[in-house]
Amino acid sequence: MVSTIDASARSKALDIIKSSMRELIDQIERGEKPTLVMPKRTLTNTIYDYKHKMLLLGPELQKRSFTDVNEAKKFMQTLLMASIIYDALRNNEYPTIRDLYYRGKHSITYKSIDGKRVSENTWDEQRESDSVIRDLEVLLSVLREDLLILSKEKGKVVGNLVIRSGDDVIDLSKMGHGAYAIEPTPDLIEFVDIDAEYILVVEKDAVFQQLHRYGFWKKNKAILVTSAGQPDRATRRFVRRLSEEYNLPVYILADSDPYGFYIYSVFKAGSITLSYESERLATPTAKFIGVMMTDIFGDSIFRKIIKDREARKTLEEITPGITDLKPKTPYLSESERSNFIIKAKTRDLERAVELIGYRVAEVCIEEKDAKNKIKKKEGLTGYPWFATPQWVRELCIFFNTLSKLEIEAMASKGLKFLADKYIPEKISTGDWID
């Protein structure tokens, strides 16, 4: 049996699809070319909203007319996808995007004008059907979860939290050594009871498990979440809802490398390629608690660099206030540092430039070889939400040391250190980046 909340979500989705398609019918009845109008899903139409601190789709619209040769197939695919989703909703099914791909894939055979029989598929690769699903999300301004489309579950959560999922009530503090796998439709979860001070999101599943077994969340009254790498939609939506509905601070603990910084940015601002979801998935209040470059190296390297007038000027131009930063002492000793840090790869360097822009790299990198490696990224200006004094300092140190560090390294210094000193101390002293 379908739960009540599920049933009502379905009927809402059915109505949304119907009313959008009815507009097309009206156009057709009037003899007009049927046209789908939706926000443009391109990078150029992706903007960073400073006020809401998230990536959003801009105001540009895309018109997809059936009678436009270049759009006809996409138009057909969009409608085909709408009909499959509609059918699934009506039949109480929960298709995955892979299911939708298979359900819609069939061949259209027709007699061409030169008399030949020609066959073509509605779509060939899942890439095509996935893209149409994203189009439908922006067209209908809903998320796929609203259409009861399931994705793989990856995120997990434990903590003093009782939820209702479907018709079951689950106490997330009684999961033993395991954890609750965040369901693909987090909007259908009902939060029944909660007793927590903050949410801690850990990038690494292994570290999540260690903290869980150590009893971190009980001790600190935290809701402990892991995204197990790049966060999926459900995890992001879950974190967003929980923090928003209970006004809980969210701290992100990720690797100290550009990739970890980016994961934080996806939680906080949204993903650049799927900016239309940010409004529902992003958590603009999320804070980066670590691991910070300054946790490893302190800030002496940075202070030395900005002694140079030119360097200081360049960095000030990117964001004012780099000289007003609070001083920082490292958590690691000289010898620990040399044991734990890993040398950055070219890929890391490039990603760092994408985040903060080429000019910071140019000022902070000393090694000639590394400088040459990023030459091709010249001209990149970085993401606006990284243009803060703290992030400039973090990435400048990264460029200068060409080093990175995984959270596991912090755990190897001692789980006790991580759970009882590093995290609580940073939270209580406000040593994070917002």
Binding site: I28, F66, F75
Partner: protein
């Protein structure tokens, strides 16, 4: 020591004797070629007796095996032309260089040689005389002649002559000869000749009865004739000393001024006086009193005078665009056909007109790397010596066909018709046209003009194809779109009718937007629904 010297013997040969000996220069080299040439000479005379005089031609050619053992063939050509007065017949068929076509008027014949070559060839191969039956429209009798040629004297020898009363309203000529030929090898050329003649003569009825009794018939499909040529005086620029002294001695004018005004086109009082003054000749001088030096001065003065009007084209009889198009349509059922009839032009005092027909697609023969070329001169198809022909050279080498959107091999054929009071043939066999710059230029311009029209057609067709392709790339999705909308918006019971309704409406919208006929869209949509 005295050499034993043979005495050199001098004597004059008659024109008949000359051509009898050197028949190959007139196209009678061997039985195959001679058979083809015989047909040509007789048919061309028949046509000259008809369309030149405004009579829609009815020409019947009969070829009959005339001997059990030897390759003798009786060839009979019958026309409905103007006929020949009985007193003229003997010379017309029995005296080499006797003709009615030396006049300034476009005709197929020009040398006064054709039919005499046939008679001579018959005489030397089968020994049989030519038979002629003829009557003019206003005659009450039909005349009959059997004659041969005295080769040495270049005189006709009448073997038999007679006449009988006309019982029906007939005019025309029937000429019958028996020659040695080679039908099996000449056949394809002869059929091709008839076919090509029919292409430019859609206004003629042409019938060929072969020795196998096959009947090949090209009925008349057009009722208008090309405008017949009008005889004109020669243009002064076509003159030479020989012609002028001939006129001065024989034409019987009182003054040289009168001679100039009356014998040439485009010379009036003022012009005549100016020319004579330039030549230093007294206008009132008697033509026969002019000295050789004066005649030469006059020729030079005429040649140097550059204010003559161009030669009058009245003496020409071009086919006209409609006739060319009709002929090509019948022959090739082409997808596209056009014709260009250029404005009159002139070379060395001879007016000429170039006409071009262009046939594309349908049953047009495929040109491997250049268009197929059909050459015509004064409505005569030219079949031999293609390689040395100026027209072929222009069409093949001077036109960049790719500029006109043609990629070979392609079904494209170019017909070129040159008509003139004097077509510059390379030989008396009339098989190829010599390279005259004025002519070459006109041929090129005409072909380019026709090719431009073809290009327009092809690019329009390509645009239409594109529009169709475009419509197709949309129409093929109509059923899928209609079905999807039906699933979302219709109930179980109305699903089919809802879908059909949307499908029809979308077809209309797509047809309107792409400018492609609705039927085409619907046929694509249907072809999909049939599958499902």
């Amino acid at each position: 020591m005295l050499m034993n010297q043979t005495e050199e013997i001098y004597r004059a040969a008659s024109p008949a004797e000359f051509f009898y000996r050197y028949r190959e220069i007139a196209g009678f080299a061997n039985p195959v070629r001679a058979m083809y040439q015989t047909i040509r000479e007789l048919v061309e005379n028949a046509l000259d007796a008809t369309d030149v005089h405004g009579i829609p031609p009815d020409v019947k050619i009969t070829i009959r095996k005339a001997d059990e053992t030897q390759e003798f063939y009786q060839i009979t050509v019958e026309d409905n032309g103007i006929g020949i007065p009985p007193n003229i017949v003997p010379n017309a068929f029995g005296k080499v260089l006797f003709s009615s076509k030396y006049a300034m008027r476009q005709s197929r014949g020009m040398y006064g040689l054709g039919v005499k070559m046939v008679v001579l060839y018959a005489q030397m191969t089968t020994g049989r005389p030519v038979e002629v039956i003829t009557s003019k429209a206003n005659f009450k009798r039909i005349y009959y002649f059997k004659l041969r040629i005295d080769v040495n004297k270049n005189e006709p020898v009448i073997i038999e002559a007679g006449s009988w009363r006309k019982t029906r309203d007939w005019h025309g000529t029937i000429v019958s000869v028996t020659i040695e030929g080679d039908w099996s090898r000449a056949k394809s050329r002869i059929l091709e000749y008839i076919n090509r003649t029919a292409i430019v003569l859609p206004y003629a009825n042409i019938t060929l009865v072969t020795p196998e009794n096959e009947i090949i018939h090209y009925p008349r499909i057009v009722n208008t004739l090309p405008k017949p040529p009008v005889e004109t005086n020669p243009h002064p620029h076509g003159i030479d000393l020989e012609i002028l002294s001939g006129l001065a001695k024989n034409a019987g004018f009182n003054t040289i001024e009168e001679l100039l005004i009356k014998s040439f086109q485009g010379i009036g009082d003022v012009t005549a006086k100016t020319i004579l003054q330039n030549a230093g000749i007294d206008p009132s001088k008697k033509p026969s009193d002019l000295t050789n030096e004066e005649l030469l001065a006059l020729v030079n003065a005429i040649k140097a005078y550059d204010k003559f009007k161009p030669p009058s084209p009245k003496s020409l009889s071009p086919l006209g665009e409609e006739i060319i198009i009709a002929g090509l349509k019948r022959a090739y059922e082409p997808e596209f056909v056009t014709a260009v009839s250029r404005k009159p032009s002139a070379y060395s005092g001879h007016p000429f007109i170039v006409e071009v027909g262009l046939s594309y697609g349908g049953k047009t023969p495929i040109g491997e790397d250049k268009p197929v070329v059909l050459r015509y001169a004064n409505k005569i198809p030219l079949l031999y010596d293609e390689a040395s022909d100026m027209v072929v050279e222009v069409v093949r080498d001077e036109i960049s066909w790719d500029h006109y959107m043609i990629t070979f091999p392609a079904p494209i054929l170019v017909l070129v018709h040159v008509c003139s009071t004097k077509v510059p043939f390379k030989g008396v066999g009339k098989e190829s046209i010599a390279d005259v710059p004025e002519l070459r230029r006109e041929v090129k311009l005409a072909v380019m003009e026709a090719a431009r029209e073809l290009k327009q057609y092809i690019s329009k067709k390509m645009k239409e194809e594109e529009a169709k392709k475009k419509a197709e790339s949309i129409a093929k999705y109509i059923p899928e779109v209609a079905r999807s909308l039906a699933i979302i918006l219709a109930d179980e019971s109305t699903l089919q009718s809802f879908k059909d309704n949307i499908s029809v409406k979308l077809s209309h919208i797509v047809a309107k937007r792409t400018g492609v006929p609705l039927e085409l869209i619907q046929s694509i949509v249907k072809s999909i629904e049939a599958e499902a």
